[in-house]
């Protein structure tokens, strides 16, 4: 804290935005959970987590944030430890082995892993600052995050694991990784996600496509048989052919592009096939619900349908607190956790929903500013990583409630009910504020 200016020590805009989100979220949770059994338990846990979160905020804010960089190995070890531990000692909730349960409280270690990975990755990328454009740096970063993702996939929590990948790309981007490497990563991710989508799409729209059709080929490819091999060979041959044509036309392209291109396509396709085979029935149904919502209103797309009705029926001013019929009467599923944004939309109307959106963007904007103003690269990367994580959660959660993104059980941090998420998120905000407050200090 040497030389730190007391002026502007606390980022009040960030604190106010976060407080506004917590207050709105608390009201929405109070309303949404008032008709479910165990209401008092929910409230107790929520306020306990809130108190705990304030302590954690101060913890994140109190020390000089470089301590987290210094101890990044310990943090990463802790992350791996809890993620491995939960696979053995954890309890299963909603199909995922993802909870530590103690007699009084329970804790979801993945929430800690979210922040822990950002801290560790920022530290790693900072140290590799001069070699950031090298492939080995990107590979190592991928391995660092990939290890945690794999542990989450084992739980198995498909959607949560996927959220780490965009954050990785965003942080690499902020750290200055080469655009070619980023393009490879984005391309790989896109192909890996696109294949299961294409598969489901073909399944829904052309369930009995005959041999020789594209749809049939996509579905055959998904079965990891001769067709798969043929398709992979075909991709390699096509890339080689393009290369050959380019050489013939004396364009002299860089051979690396073509090798990378073929690698992306093949690795992405293989990952996509694996993902597709790993998809559980309900996850596949979520894809179906998103890609073809008209097929089954009562089944898979029921949740999103009800959420959209809830938000739409809220109108400009909402139906009033505790008066949302969609949430009160149970039409809205998961209404105090994943779909809490729909409750806000229904009961507080356009004003409330837009307000939450604005507060969220304000918070992200302050994190981006922190990243810009940070006096060191580590702080900047941490703030940038947090900003991209919040943005991703906002897009996935609010997008799901609004019916523009497929359903994934991703909560809206600070707003959704969930003690672990709330407390850990407040710790992260404490760190961000810490970075902000030290923007002018020089060790």
């Amino acid at each position: 804290m040497l030389g730190a200016s007391t002026k502007g020590r606390v980022d009040w805009a960030l604190v106010l935005a976060a407080s506004g989100l917590i207050v709105t979220g608390t009201i929405a949770v109070l309303s949404a959970s008032s008709h479910i059994p165990g209401y008092h338990g929910v409230l107790q846990r929520h306020f306990l987590a809130l108190a705990f979160g304030i302590v954690l905020f101060l913890f994140g804010f109190g020390f000089k944030y470089q301590i987290f960089q210094d101890q990044s190995r310990i943090i990463y070890a802790l992350v791996l430890a809890v993620m491995v531990g939960v696979l053995f000692a954890g309890t299963v909730r909603r199909g995922h082995r993802s909870w530590f349960e103690f007699s009084l409280i329970s804790f979801q270690p993945m929430e800690f892993a979210r922040i822990g990975v950002i801290l560790t990755l920022a530290s790693f990328l900072d140290r590799r600052g001069r070699r950031i454009t090298e492939l080995s740096t990107v590979g190592a970063a991928l391995a660092l995050v990939g290890a945690v993702m794999v542990l989450i996939l084992i739980q198995p929590d498909f959607a949560s694991a996927l959220t780490f990948f965009p954050v990785l790309i965003a942080m690499l981007f902020c750290a200055g990784a080469s655009m070619e490497h980023l393009a490879v990563l984005v391309g790989y991710g896109a192909v890996a996600i696109a294949f299961p989508l294409a598969y489901v799409l073909c399944q829904v729209h052309f369930p009995d496509a005959g041999p020789g059709t594209l749809a049939r080929m996509v579905m055959e490819t998904g079965r990891l048989g001769w067709t798969t091999a043929a398709v992979l060979m075909g991709i390699a041959a096509a890339v080689a052919a393009v290369w050959w044509v380019a050489v013939m036309m004396r364009v002299r392209p860089r051979s690396g592009y073509f090798i990378a291109g073929a690698a992306i396509l093949i690795a992405g396709l293989l990952s996509g096939i694996m993902v597709n085979r790993q998809l559980k029935g309900y996850q596949r149904n979520r894809f179906v619900a998103f890609l073809a919502p008209e097929t089954d209103i009562q089944g898979a797309s029921y949740n999103v349908h009800q959420s959209v009705i809830a938000i739409g029926s809220g109108g400009l001013w909402g139906k009033g607190l505790f008066s949302g019929t969609q949430s009160r009467l149970g039409f809205l599923p998961e209404r105090h956790t994943d779909f809490v944004y729909a409750v806000i939309g229904e009961e507080m109307g356009f004003v409330g929903a837009l307000g939450v959106l604005a507060l969220y963007l304000t918070m992200i904007w302050r994190l981006i500013e922190t990243a810009r103003l940070s006096r060191d690269r580590y702080g900047s990367l941490v703030a940038g990583g947090l900003a991209s994580m919040f943005a991703l959660h906002l897009a996935l959660n609010a997008g799901m409630c609004l019916g523009v993104v497929p359903v994934a059980g991703i909560p809206l941090p600070l707003v959704s009910y969930g003690g672990s998420s709330l407390a850990v998120t407040m710790w992260a905000l404490g760190i961000a504020n810490n970075i902000y407050s030290h923007r002018y200090s020089f060790l």
């Binding site: 200055g176 739409g312 109108g315 039409f331 837009l354």
Partner: protein, 619 residues
């Protein structure tokens, strides 16, 4: 430039700006979606949310009542319990199957049909009526199911009830389910697929007047379909009451008389000759309209299968037989073709155009003039007088009395019969034999009982031909002024005063000393004419008559037909007699209309108005 410069230590400002722009665009996209949902499509989704949470159970409103001319209730309503099902969210086909089985056990109903209904309700997310008019015992057992199966409920509704049961059934009609055709027709008028409609008679004619506005219970239900509370009770609005000109006592006499007649098949109609108001209209065999509303599905099915839809009073066409002789007399006497003193010798038969025509009295009537001729219904006298009058004239007079044309009574399927004569026969040759046949009401001449009642009323009123009517007034609900039916005269038979005197005197003699002695009523002047119309089976029996208190104008005119009753006097006469007695309020134990049966108190919540006056007899 993206890879390059940085003004500070650490990463690249441009890349952070790009990241922020991307995030900001995502946020703007979400905001745009919010505007779309919450501002642009607000109303649409508000409606969807409202549909989600509300279920309406409709309650059939009480139908307008029918009263007779003295305020006796002929059709009313009573509360009935219906079993309804509100499909809860997340019900399974298996759960429905066990529910269907359970209900079927208590109702003795078809399990498969119930299950189909339940499944349909689940698919369409609407409430269905599983059973109506539950018997009390089944109701108690079913109310226990409410706790076991969410979605099951019992509601009270108004059900049509006919207090007299088998009474004026062809006239009042019955209530039934809509078929596909009528559903298409009634949908726009606010009917629901399970609404009942009037299927016959006046229930059908006055369907829209009688029908009230259904009420309902608007309930809030949660996603599981459990009732959370009642949002609103929409009160029902009873239908318009219709006051008929019918006289319950006369109707009762007609119904019971026909039912216990020789064959149990026939028809009767009674008019007030002063107004054309219908006092009774009956057709046998008849039915009990309550059976269509029974909670026993087998009874409903059986009743529908055996329904005697044929209303003989307006749709049955029969030869009038000797009852037609009054028309021959009216034509011949009025036109001076013969006089009351012109005599004919009846040896029991006569020869016309080379063919022998028999009198019903094989021994013969000896010398006959007008009065004994009609009193004894001597066929030979009327063959001869008919020939003197001529077929064309008889045809014209028959038409004047309204025969061969619809009476235009407001019921469906009325027949116009067949007026027969040289004109109707047209270009084909008309022989004397045809005239002779026509003169005794045989041949191709066909009339309905209602037409004969109009004829009797015209005789009684000295020539006024009415369009018969049922309604005296309609009390509209909802402030529309009352409708009052006015008498409607459609024709006049202008005869000389002496002709009327001769006709009336002869018809009085028929009853007092002739073939119609079965209709004598002490204290009244009864006029009549019997008829026995030949047809392939046994003869049909007719009796056409009217009656008056001494010194007053006639106030009731009656036509009775008993199919295959053989003799007008013996089969049809007593029925006409008890109808006329009832019309004059005379004690006749067998033909007394009973008030509401004991214990048949009209339930309080179905009273749309103060309880109707019970039958009060006119002096």
């Amino acid at each position: 430039m993206i890879n390059g410069r940085s003004s500070r230590v650490g990463p690249l400002q441009d890349r952070i700006s790009l990241l922020w722009m991307a995030i900001y665009l995502c946020g703007a996209g979400l905001g745009a979606r919010l505007v779309h949902l919450q501002v642009v499509q607000r109303a649409e989704y508000a409606l969807a949310a409202e549909r989600n949470r509300t279920q309406i159970i409709y309650q059939a409103a009480p139908r307008g009542r029918f009263y007779d001319r003295d305020g006796v209730v002929l059709a009313t309503n009573e509360p009935a319990f219906s079993l309804i099902y509100l499909p809860p969210k997340g019900s399974t086909a298996q759960g429905l199957a066990s529910l269907a089985e359970e209900i079927a056990k208590h109702l003795d109903a078809d399990r498969k049909g119930l299950q189909e209904k339940l499944q349909q309700a689940m698919r369409e997310e609407t409430a269905v009526r599983l059973a109506e008019n539950l018997p009390t015992r089944a109701m108690f057992r079913l109310s226990e199911l409410k706790t076991l199966y969410p979605g099951i409920d019992l509601v009270v509704e108004a059900r049509r009830r006919y207090p007299f049961g088998r009474f004026a059934s062809h006239l009042l009609g019955y209530m039934g389910r809509m078929d596909q055709h009528s559903w298409g027709q009634f949908k726009a008028r606010g009917y629901r697929i399970d609404s009942r409609i009037g299927k016959m008679g006046l229930e059908r004619v006055f369907e829209f007047e009688l029908r009230g506005k259904d009420g309902g219970i608007v309930m809030e239900v949660d996603a599981q379909g459990r009732l959370k509370g009642i949002l609103e009770r929409i009160p029902w609005q009873p239908g318009s009451n219709i006051h008929l000109t019918l006289d319950a006592a006369v109707q009762k006499a007609a119904d019971e008389g026909l039912r216990s007649s020789l064959t149990g098949r026939g028809a009767a109609a009674a008019l007030d000759p002063r107004t054309g108001a219908i006092l009774a209209m009956s057709s046998a065999p008849d039915f009990d309209p309550n059976d269509f509303l029974s909670s026993d599905p087998d009874l409903v099915k059986r009743t529908a299968a055996e329904l005697p839809e044929f209303n003989r009073a307006i749709a049955g066409a029969y030869a009038p037989g000797s009852a037609f002789k009054v028309v021959v007399g009216a034509a011949g006497l009025n036109e001076g073709r013969f006089t009351t003193s012109d005599a004919v010798y009846c040896p029991g038969h006569t020869e016309i155009g080379g063919r022998v025509f028999l009198c019903w009295e094989a021994k013969g009537h000896r010398t006959m003039t007008w009065f004994p001729g009609l009193t004894n219904s001597c066929d030979v006298y009327f063959y001869r007088m008919g020939l003197r009058t001529g077929g064309a004239l008889i045809e014209r007079y028959a038409g004047m009395f309204g025969l061969g044309a619809k009476t235009n009574v407001a019921l469906k399927w009325e027949k116009k019969g067949n007026l027969f004569g040289p004109r109707a026969k047209g270009a084909r040759a008309w022989y004397d034999g045809d005239t002779a046949n026509l003169a005794i009401g045989q041949g191709e001449l066909l009339v309905t009982p209602m037409q004969m009642a109009v004829l009797a009323a015209a005789m009684a009123s000295r020539g006024v031909v009415w369009r018969p009517h049922f309604t005296s007034r309609i009390e509209y609900t909802g402030g529309r002024p009352e409708y009052k039916q006015m008498p409607e005269q459609v024709g006049t038979v202008a005869l000389k005063e002496s002709t009327w005197r001769d006709l009336h005197e002869a018809m009085r003699l028929v009853v007092s000393s002739g073939t119609g002695r079965t209709a004598i009523i002490p204290g009244l002047e009864v006029y009549g004419k019997t008829g026995t119309s030949q047809n392939p089976g046994k003869d049909h029996a007719w009796f056409v008559s009217f009656a008056a208190r001494p010194g007053e104008v006639p106030s009731v005119a009656v036509a009775v037909l008993v199919e295959n009753g053989e003799h007008g006097g013996s089969a049809a006469g007593p029925i006409a007699r008890s109808m006329m007695m009832a019309a004059f309020g005379m004690a006749d134990p067998q033909a007394k209309a009973s008030p509401l049966p004991a214990g048949m108190e009209v339930p309080h919540n179905l009273r749309a108005e103060p309880p109707a006056r019970l039958a009060t007899r006119r002096p």
